[in-house]
Every structure is written in structure tokens, then in C-alpha cells.
Symmetry: C2
């Protein structure tokens, strides 16, 4: 890797590039021009070149990118060319949906245990995993790197604390609330409502424009 | 509203401010300093002031923001001070979880119909809604503004086409794939994998730093 500091926006776009490239691969595309890749990602070609430049030299002038090679390089750059072990806390509707979501495993993220503090859920089997009491998280501390939180908002911090005690390196929080964690634990938020608010706002703006307000 | 062009990042942060402000409200906080609000949102106070300035003048020097007033103003600015009618296409695990997710209704987004093309799902009742064939989407065209896609990736474009035919104004796409839509239809992507890739990448970087690579 050429540089240690990579902007967050670049990382998010790289994740998008991988996804779009994997669709090209699935469709049998072997070489893609930077214009076509850019178009499919809704960014401009110079942005793609700039983002990839953090990781090395890619693409052949006048030819484009070799799809397979670029997927491998970006995955290696992002650290997603290996298996990551994750646990999930909060076996409600969303938690169950994620446990059954086979894209996680397909993309190398294996959910190896599921936790909930509801005594009625403990012992239940969901997607091949036995739901365990959240207090048992520490038993998995040797094994896990990522914790997924799908509890209601008011239980998210407690779930985070259990994960932090177990020595987790990163948290993916689906609960619509902020959580606090020490500096050495990375937290990412998946918040549907940010996106639906953006939609509502853009629709409102365009309706105002149409009606001349 | 003072200005028509609002950066996308500002809109996303406004959505975050609303969420954090609503937590303050729930905790009985009536006035919050810009420092405390900024801290809870992990941004700096000048960013908040700059973002809010697009919509008018808020806050009282030396006092801070009145929580209730600011929630109302930001919601009005974002167009989320009213009920939005939505439909969902794709009644799999994730679709079911979202249909049962009471935060949507609580925040003013009412899912009024659910669609799936699987004949075994059609007629089934999920969260009080009868699952209908996607072809029937047009019957709802007078009524709906937002379409939520929770199909597998290879069916997302078809779902989008049905929604676009029904005259939808915006699409919230949970399927991990890009979709194409005309310019007057807004599309937002909720992609867990962008976030989990970011986590993996940040963990990898910090592990490399620790081991001196």
C-alpha cells in the first residue's frame, strides 16, 4: 500500500467498485473501460483513477481495467480477501434476517454466534446457531473481530459494552442510535433513516420546484 | 428555505442531528449547547452551524439550541414533518423484518402495501398487509411516493421497473446491486457491505500499524 491515510469516502467508493466489478464478472465481462466502470458506479472516471491511486497502479491506458485483477487488488487493499469472524447481538426481526442473509458468508463475513438477553430466545436455533445469553460473549473473545448490533436502540450501548469487553475490533451498528466505544474500536452505523430522510428531502425539493415555490 | 442547493453530506448529517436531538428530547433535555450536540454527533460545532445555516438561523448565542424547536425546524426543512406513504417489494427475510420494524411508522413512513412475485408468498399476511403480485403495483400509483426494494440482487431492477411504472418518486434499495432509474426518480442505496468493508479495512490498517508493517 502506498499511503496509510485513505479518506473515508474513498473506502466507501472502493466497496462500491468491488460490488459493480463483481457484477461485471458475473456477466462474463473481462475488461472494462474506466468510463464504463465510472458510469456504472455513478462517479466520474478521474475519481476512480484517484481512488485507486492510493493502492498502486491499475488499468492499462487505452484498454481499461482487467476485471478479475482489479477485484483481487481492491479486495486485498481493503482486507476483504480473507474470512472475517463476526457475532451478532439482538435476535429480533432484523437480526434474524441478517443471520439468514447469505451475502455475508458469500462475501467472507462468517457470523459464528448469535446473542440475545431475552430468556425466551436463549437456546432457540436461528440459521444453524444457538442463541446465547449476551453475558457469554467473553467466551468468544479469542475468535471474533466484528460485532453486529441489531438490538432496539435502548439496548445498543449494553450490547456494545459486552462486545468491547470481549475485545472486539469493530462494531457494525444497525440500531438507530449512537453508541460510545474506545478509540481502538471502530464503529460503523447502518442507518436506513438517513437514507429515507434524504429521499424525502429530495422529493420535497423537486416538488417545490415543480409547483414554483 | 434560503438555498436550493444543499450538499448531500449536509442532508445526511441533518438526518443524524434529528436522531440525536430526539434522543436528547427522550431524556428530557430542553436546551443543548452546540458543543454537546456536536460531540454526540461526532462532528465539530462549526460544521453543525454551517449545516443549519442552509435553512435559517438557529440557536441562541451563549445558550445553545432549543431541542424541540430545532427538531421541528430540521424536520420541516427535510420534509419529514408529514406522513409519507411507501410500498415494499420483496418479502424475504429482510423485507419481513422491515415490515415489522415499527421505527418506520414512528418516523412517519407508512408502508401501505407489500409485493412479491413468488406465488407461494402472494396472499400471505405479513405485519397486517396481504402480500400482492408485483404486477398490481400500478393500482397504487395514486397513493405512493417511496418504494423500498428488498429483493435478491438479480430481481432488483425488475422491482424498480414496476415501481417506476407506478410513478414512484423515490426508491430505497436494500438489494446489494445498482439499479437504473430515470432522472426524476431518486434512488438511495442502503448497503451493509460498504460499512462492513470499511470496518474490515480500518481494522486491517490498524493491525498492520501495530505489527509495524
Amino acid at each position: 500500500m502506498k499511503s496509510q491515510y485513505i479518506p473515508k469516502a474513498t473506502i466507501q467508493r472502493l466497496a462500491l467498485y468491488v460490488q459493480v466489478l463483481e457484477e461485471f464478472k458475473r456477466d462474463g465481462v473481462e475488461i472494462v473501460s474506466s468510463e464504463r466502470l465510472a458510469n456504472s458506479c455513478s462517479v466520474n472516471p478521474s475519481q476512480i483513477r484517484k481512488d485507486l491511486a492510493y493502492f498502486g497502479e491499475f488499468g492499462v491506458r487505452g484498454v481499461g481495467y482487467y476485471v478479475n485483477d482489479l477485484i483481487d487488488s481492491v479486495k486485498r487493499s481493503l482486507g476483504i480477501d480473507r474470512v472475517w469472524k463476526a457475532v451478532l447481538v439482538g435476535v429480533g426481526n432484523l437480526g434474524r434476517a441478517l443471520l439468514n442473509h447469505n451475502e455475508f458468508k458469500r462475501r467472507g463475513f462468517h457470523i459464528v454466534a448469535a446473542f440475545d438477553c431475552d430468556p425466551f430466545k436463549i437456546g432457540e436455533e436461528v440459521s444453524g446457531l444457538e442463541v446465547m445469553c449476551s453475558k457469554r460473549l467473553r467466551e468468544f473473545s479469542q475468535d471474533i473481530e466484528i460485532g453486529i448490533i441489531t438490538t432496539p436502540p435502548d439496548r445498543a450501548q449494553r450490547a456494545a459494552n459486552h462486545l468491547i469487553d470481549a475485545g472486539i475490533a469493530g462494531i457494525l451498528n444497525f440500531a438507530p442510535t449512537r453508541i460510545t466505544a474506545p478509540d481502538n474500536v471502530f464503529v460503523e452505523y447502518v442507518d436506513f433513516f438517513h437514507h429515507i430522510y434524504s429521499l424525502a428531502f429530495n422529493i420535497t425539493l423537486s416538488q417545490n420546484k415543480e409547483s414554483g415555490n
